[in-house]
């Protein structure tokens, strides 16, 4: 296969400046991740230790295979929201391996507000369930939660994508024959009681784990009966009398061991047979991506320089290299698995949209997963292009992306503006996974452009009313807040806080993240490819 030749000079000033800038962003990311994992009050730590419970990190370590990867999902959800300390929206979740088997694992963090559920916590749980269903990953739950965060109950409880949906999904997951295994390692109160109840296997830790529809405070308020949590819903009761739980564990460590045993007994699963070959490292160090990507989003860079640092042997077979050159399409391998890559090298024209459409259809037919590397300011605009039907061609690309049945993966590598976000498989187009680089910006348009549009609209309105146009002072009055909001809300951290992605990642880790996710996605078989119509040459 053709090997990409890098044109980057690692000794150049541009490279060094780019590298320094991205290195700063990655340092900040690692600080934020560390804070999310470790920033807990002394009181909460002491309480956890006093109850003889392991920390969430220790629980994850004990359940997952030693010395194996953990691909955490949404570690910075709810970043800077609420009081700024509901790290990861109050839970840890991700994909890991148990006895070599890829599984999805979620764990409440009782050291964050007693593991109570905030609105973003519900959103994260639903996202996790989507991952479980789309990729057919066995679901492991480590429950330790005081239930809904009552002061915000109205934002958690009644709507279609609120708390109830979690249990609805659990029933669907069960119907799909995806194993759900729960360890009760703390409170499972009210709605939380259904998480174990709707699972296939329930491990219950004696002394700390309790399941009840109404906790002791509610029982007392309702009936006046005084009863301890252990008597009301402890492991003994549920394992020997009610039958709600199946396996009794003396402590967290034993529960983790039982979970591992259960997973080791699960039947093997048919995998999607993506084309694979022997994995090989890229010829260029993935960390050089830091020196490839310029600090300013408006400075263009060749996406091939990124691809050369992502794919096995830096090998890319380009599709229609000479046609629609603002979109690079081609076949490559990541950790041995073949992928079809679409990467932006400028604004999308009709030709690039048509090329994308044909390429996506081809990959879909051949059962090859799609990877979108987004650095897109949008589709081309202007009279000539409208006349030539850019909207029709954009439609074809959006339709192809929407209906492709192979797994799609999206990485936000810079700009993600307007319909470009859609055509390049933004969150609404159901990529199996979507990650954001720390430099990325997302919005309907760039903040500067948005301000200009608003000023133009205002001037048009003034002109209609026979008024003079805005003074430059007033223009600034409009531009300032719009730009500020655009930059804040377009920022990667705002995006990840709102679960518009599955996490911000170090660009140098993109290859490994994708490799792990590709492997995880293969747990769901491919089907439905041999139906419908032929591929159309665009």
């Amino acid at each position: 296969m053709p090997v990409l030749r890098s044109r980057i000079d690692p000794k150049s000033d541009d490279y060094k400046a780019n590298y320094a800038h991205m290195s700063g962003l990655v340092d900040k990311l690692k600080e934020e991740l560390t804070r999310a994992h470790e920033d807990r009050s002394d009181k909460a730590k002491a309480r956890n230790a006093e109850l003889g419970k392991l920390t969430v990190t220790e629980r994850l370590d004990k359940v997952l295979d030693r010395n194996s990867p953990f691909l955490e999902i949404a570690p910075l959800a709810a970043h800077d929201m609420y009081d700024g300390r509901i790290h990861g929206a109050g839970s840890r979740a991700g994909i890991g391996v148990i006895h070599g088997r890829e599984v999805f694992i979620s764990a409440n963090d009782p050291m964050i507000k007693g593991g109570t559920i905030y609105p973003m916590g519900v959103k994260k749980t639903l996202r996790c369930q989507t991952i479980i269903m789309e990729n057919r990953l066995p679901s492991i739950n480590l429950v330790d939660s005081g239930g809904a965060y009552l002061p915000m109950q109205s934002e958690i409880f009644p709507d279609v994508d609120d708390g109830g949906r979690v249990f609805y999904n659990q029933a669907l997951i069960s119907k799909m024959n995806i194993p759900q295994i729960t360890a009760v390692m703390g409170l499972c109160t009210a709605g939380g009681a259904y998480i174990p109840a709707m699972s296939d296997h329930v491990v219950h830790v004696q002394g700390t784990g309790a399941i009840f529809l109404g906790g002791p405070p509610l029982v007392k308020a309702a009936t006046g009966e005084e009863v301890s949590a252990e008597d009301l819903g402890g492991a003994k009761l549920h394992c020997s009398e009610s039958g709600v739980s199946d396996y009794l564990a003396d402590d967290d460590a034993m529960a983790c061991e039982i979970l591992r045993e259960i997973v080791s007994m699960l039947p093997a699963q048919k995998q999607a047979d993506y084309p694979r070959r022997a994995p090989a490292a890229p010829l260029y160090d993935p960390r050089e991506i830091w020196g490839v990507v310029p600090p300013s989003l408006s400075t263009p860079y060749d996406i091939r320089e990124v691809i050369a640092r992502l794919v096995d042997g830096s090998e890319l077979l380009e599709f229609k290299q000479l046609y629609g050159p603002t979109l690079v399409c081609g076949w490559a391998h990541i950790h041995g698995t073949q992928v079809g890559i679409l990467g932006n090298n400028g604004v999308l024209f009709s030709e690039s949209a048509l090329k994308a459409t044909q390429f996506i259809q081809l990959c879909d037919r051949q059962g090859i997963p799609l990877l979108f590397l987004q650095n897109i300011s949008g589709y081309i605009i202007g009279r000539d292009y409208e006349r030539a039907g850019i909207t029709k061609d954009g439609h074809k690309m959006v339709a192809a992306v929407s209906t492709a049945t192979v797994p799609k993966f999206t990485v936000m590598c810079g700009q993600s503006f307007g319909a470009g976000n859609y055509g390049m498989c933004g969150r609404a187009y159901s990529p199996r996974f979507l990650w954001t680089w720390p430099n990325a910006q997302i919005g309907v348009m760039g903040a500067e452009e948005a301000a200009k549009v608003l000023i133009t609209v205002k001037n048009d309105q003034l002109a209609r009313e026979g008024e003079p146009p805005l003074t430059s002072e007033f223009e600034e009055f409009i531009r300032g807040p719009v730009k500020q909001a655009g930059e804040k809300e377009g920022n990667a951290y705002y995006s990840t806080a709102n679960l518009w992605d599955d996490g911000i990642i170090d660009p140098a880790k993109t290859r490994d993240v994708l490799g792990l996710a590709l492997s995880a996605s293969a747990n769901a078989p491919l089907d439905g490819r041999d139906q419908g119509h032929s591929t159309f040459r665009m």
Partner: protein, 501 residues
């Protein structure tokens, strides 16, 4: 010569002795406890006898003199080779063997008894003119006597068990305040380890080298030495790396130490192979430490540099032959190093890590020897010393031997149990070791903060190898699954990996 010999030991040393027996066409008998039923020494012997009901505890198996002698009687073995450890330095056992009409392959019981009591041994050797470390000539349990003796020789002092070895019952005492407490702790440890709580004091030499001399003596009054071994690299008072020749010795010192060792052998009427241990201080003064009345763990480095099979000589001497060599016949050539491979965790204070050897593949190549008691699938039981084997290299000179040992350690694969291989590579590659600047505190001085390299790439490479060897294609999947499973996934190859790492 004997027709049949019983080896009263297990592990690598039993296998080592069995090898020579086979070369000499002598039938062999192994003994074992139930946990060793599939051990290499059992599989390597012509016959094997379970000891008692097979209970694994040493006292019921490899330390049970009657059961071992009974095994020899049942199988018709004429002699017993005790190896090292277990009953090898037990005078009562040697006496019982002789009383049973069998030959004990080692010194006579009375010699073992004399040398086994450290204070008696010091007295005899001092009288023979061998320099000894300043210290008490008798054991004592009276704190006042101990305190006075310590005051006389000056702190720091070393408490030692009279019946001891292997670091058991040993304590370094820096000042008078700690003497009484350390003495009682050492005494009770000695009591529980050797059944004898007697202790005595010695001047503690700071950072001495441990240099020992191999001797061979026959029952006809002839004795020679086979040069020295330096065993300064120790952990918890136990040797892990040994070499010969020692770079601290010049010809003159070597001659004097060799002569002192031969004088010691003659003074006690020593017979068979033995080792006279000395401490060598930085001024070139050496002091007698003790005599090990058996084959040493590190004997192979002497074998490869002098070109002799010590076990063969042991058997010949025990059968009554005269030494076939005189001192001028023996010369040493090149340089040899031994690294002991234990199932232990160097990052956790060398805690033993018994378990199952999932795979092993010994290093090979010119000048490389691996004396081992393991094979792929072998169990390392919790009940005994967790030694797996010893890697020995020989080369023309010390730098070449170091380079060869590093290469051999890198090639010597043992998977499934933790070993200190990585630490030993780092020691051999270190500047002080290369400079020959070794002493018994070497590890504390240079490697106290050592921890294994946590390089994910290296672990990933190991992961590849392990996956390849174990024939696992893909996480939990069988070969029957489609192409997706044929190659390893990053879940197998990335090792420890997180978004933060």
């Amino acid at each position: 010569m004997f027709d049949k010999v019983l080896v009263a030991n297990r592990g690598e040393i039993a296998v080592r002795v069995l090898t020579t027996l086979r070369e000499m066409s002598i039938a062999s008998v192994a003994v074992y406890s139930e946990v060793d039923a599939q051990a290499l020494h059992v599989l390597s012997a012509d016959e094997a006898v379970v000891l008692g009901d097979g209970a694994p505890e040493p006292a019921a198996s490899y330390l049970h003199a009657e059961r071992i002698i009974e095994a020899a009687r049942v199988t018709g073995a004429q002699a017993i080779h005790p190896g090292y450890g277990f009953l090898s330095e037990n005078a009562d056992f040697a006496a019982q063997v002789t009383e049973a009409g069998l030959t004990f392959i080692g010194p006579p019981a009375d010699v073992i008894a004399k040398l086994g009591n450290k204070t008696t041994a010091r007295q005899i050797l001092a009288d023979a003119g061998v320099p000894i470390v300043p210290g008490m000539r008798a054991t004592a349990d009276d704190p006042a006597v101990l305190a006075e003796a310590a005051q006389d020789m000056g702190y720091p002092v070393l408490i030692k068990a009279a019946a001891g070895g292997g670091g058991k019952g040993m304590r370094v005492v820096q000042s008078a305040d700690h003497l009484a407490e350390a003495a009682s702790a050492a005494s009770s440890e000695a009591l529980s380890s050797f059944g004898d709580g007697s202790i005595y004091l010695e001047k503690y030499l700071d950072r001495p080298r441990h240099v020992e001399v191999q001797i061979l003596a026959d029952a006809h009054g002839n004795a020679i030495h086979l040069f020295e071994r330096e065993c300064s690299i120790q952990r918890r008072h136990q040797k892990i790396i040994e070499e010969t020749p020692s770079c601290a010795l010049n010809t003159d010192l070597r001659t004097r130490m060799g002569e002192a060792a031969v004088a010691a052998a003659k003074a006690v009427g020593y017979v068979n192979a033995g080792t006279v241990e000395f401490l060598l201080d930085s001024t070139g003064d050496f002091y007698f430490l003790e005599v090990n009345t058996r084959l040493q763990v590190e004997h192979p480095i002497t074998e490869v540099t002098v070109g002799l099979d010590l076990v063969r000589h042991q058997l010949e001497i025990a059968a009554g032959s005269k030494l076939t060599l005189a001192q001028p016949d023996v010369s040493q050539r090149g340089h040899a190093i031994e690294c002991r491979i234990y199932a232990e965790d160097p990052a956790a204070d060398f805690m033993p890590c018994p378990g199952k050897v999932l795979y092993c593949r010994p290093a090979t190549g010119p000048g490389v020897r691996f004396d081992a008691g393991i094979y792929p699938g072998a169990e390392v039981p919790v009940h005994y010393d967790p030694i797996l084997g010893k890697l020995i290299v020989w080369a023309e000179d010390r730098p070449a031997a170091i380079a060869r040992m590093i290469r051999a350690l890198q090639d010597n694969v043992v998977l499934g149990v933790q070993t200190a291989t990585e630490l030993m590579i780092d020691i051999l590659a270190s500047e002080p070791f290369r400079d020959g600047d070794t002493n018994t505190r070497f590890l504390e001085d240079h490697f106290a903060d050592w921890h294994p390299c946590e390089d994910g790439d290296a672990q990933a490479r190991l992961g590849y190898v392990a996956a390849d060897l174990s024939g696992v294609g893909h996480a939990g999947a069988a070969d029957t699954l489609p192409g997706a499973t044929k190659w390893p996934s990053p879940w197998q190859t990335l090792a420890h990996w997180t978004l933060r790492s």
